[in-house]
Symmetry: C2
């Protein structure tokens, strides 16, 4: 398939390498001339402009940071190929696509990353086994376009998860954006307290690991998804307040056991083991039900997909 990748950082570069390994006809582009040279030196065809990169292309993957998207979308004006993206927030990106008149758009988000960035860190195996969200809107998405991308990404070994943009934004606020803010909040306690730094061990190390991510990157994720992040954040602040109240009770040890036990059960049963592969005839409602149930698509064959669901989850009759 004739494909263009715009933006050749860690994610875009890895996508270029992974698609090349699948034998697709590829063109890359990056705004940075040095990155273009690096990609050319790696044997890839690299255009000198967005317009040149997307000429006669069936699928264009935009792998640029959210703040750069409007500029790239202006250069896509009039393009009638299928467009996808890889940013960590999907509602605002969908609004941008509508505003820029991009008609054939399916939002994507691979749940993969590294603490290092740039084309030099790109890895064709980055997406093997990772969840790749592909957005579906009940009255809005062209199912054939969705299937085209699902075929492309499952072939690279990704688990393709069908969800609406809004469901995606809430879920990632929960499992990625707020955890980054929690890590930063814990790390901050080291300020002016070298004793704490000397005593900190495993629980601190793991609980703060992602606080070391570039501040601009965490800010772009959380600020770009501010509404969903604030809703989750306030809910978690409420629960921390409940723990504080329980610790003020006559029997603080006994009082906090039940909520800690419930949280422990949830953690110990994650990640859920998948059940047996099932064949499913595709429709937007069936795919959205699959995503909501914690399932994903593992391969695509015409109008059928093979799916996995968490063990014990039963397909609705």
């Amino acid at each position: 398939m004739k494909t263009a990748v715009i933006g050749l950082g860690l994610i875009g570069g890895s996508l270029l390498r992974a698609l090349a390994a699948e034998g697709h006809d590829l063109t890359g582009f990056d705004a940075d001339p040095a990155t273009r040279e690096l990609a050319r030196a790696g044997g890839y065809r690299v255009a000198d402009s967005v317009a040149e990169a997307i000429q006669d292309v069936e699928v264009t993957a935009l792998a640029v940071p959210l703040p750069v998207l409007p500029k790239v979308l202006a250069e896509l004006a009039g393009h009638d190929g299928l467009v996808t993206d890889v940013t960590s927030v999907k509602g605002p990106v969908r609004d941008l696509m509508v505003a820029h008149g991009v008609r054939r758009f399916v939002g994507g988000h691979p749940m993969a990353g590294k603490e290092i960035s740039g084309f030099a860190a790109a890895d064709p195996d980055l997406f093997a086994g990772c969840a790749w969200v592909l957005c579906l809107e009940p009255h809005d998405t062209d199912l054939d376009d969705w299937m085209t991308l699902a075929r492309l990404f499952t072939a690279m070994g990704s688990r393709v998860v069908p969800v609406t943009a809004s469901e995606h934004d809430t879920a990632v606020a929960r499992i990625s954006h707020v955890p980054h803010l929690f890590a930063a909040t814990l790390a901050r306690q080291l300020a002016g307290d070298p004793l704490a730094g000397a005593l900190a061990a495993g629980s601190f190390r793991d609980g703060t690991r992602v606080a070391g991510t570039r501040a601009e990157m965490i800010a772009a994720m959380c600020g770009g998804n501010a509404e969903a992040v604030r809703t989750e954040l306030r809910s978690l602040i409420g629960f921390l307040g409940e723990l504080d109240a329980l610790l003020a009770s006559d029997d603080p040890v006994g009082a906090v056991i039940p909520p800690l036990h419930a949280a422990g059960e949830l953690r110990r049963s994650w990640p859920p083991a998948p059940g047996e592969p099932e064949k499913m005839r595709v429709s937007i409602p069936a795919l959205l039900e699959l995503g909501r149930a914690g399932g994903w698509v593992t391969s695509v064959d015409h109008d059928e997909v093979v799916v996995l669901r968490p063990q014990g989850d039963r397909k609705p009759a």
Copy 2:
């Protein structure tokens, strides 16, 4: 040195093995007959009661959970040897010792653990390189007793950190107890949201790891140190509220960069690299200054110790 270890779970069992490896004259005891048999089968001398275990012993290490301590202390009545413990809260334990008339007490807390427990999991190398808090109170601790224990634990490879009970309780609330509550709070988000479970990746995995610890154990740590934990928890809730307010501003991305950047700097410079070893003549004020500066004792020689401090920290003139 004639030493007794009371309680042969993960920590007590590991201590028994580590002290045995150093050639000490050891007796163990555990309230559970099966654990006593297991330890005997491992070649250790195991008494059938606390009283028998501590007969003519110079140092007794209490490695039982906090709720069990009062029962063991009742059996120590009249004992005049040196007593230490390994529980994760030091102020309340100090009060217990006073209440039970234990005169020669130096509180301890090795910052080591595993997610598994029991004598079978005990490991003589568990304490190598770990921070082992040994409490010192300005007008209260016998420095010779403190040095006896510092010699014992540094010989096992531990980094001995001198602090007051109250400083310890604040520091562990920060770097261990509250991180456990944060992990549980994040893990709880999986309830009723299988999609979140399917998308969760590295930041969630690490941020929630310790939520899988036994609820009774987290509750004992946090509930036993409720006052310090509540103070820290409310401070962190305040900071999360500030982040929420910044995310509500006109430029949420720009607004959260400075606090995230500060937290990231703190995390990236942790753990601090130690400077060159220094010899130090011991006194309670000098040791407490060392602990507050994030330093520790690495070996003991008569009335001198060898210490390490974080690189760049200067010894006061």
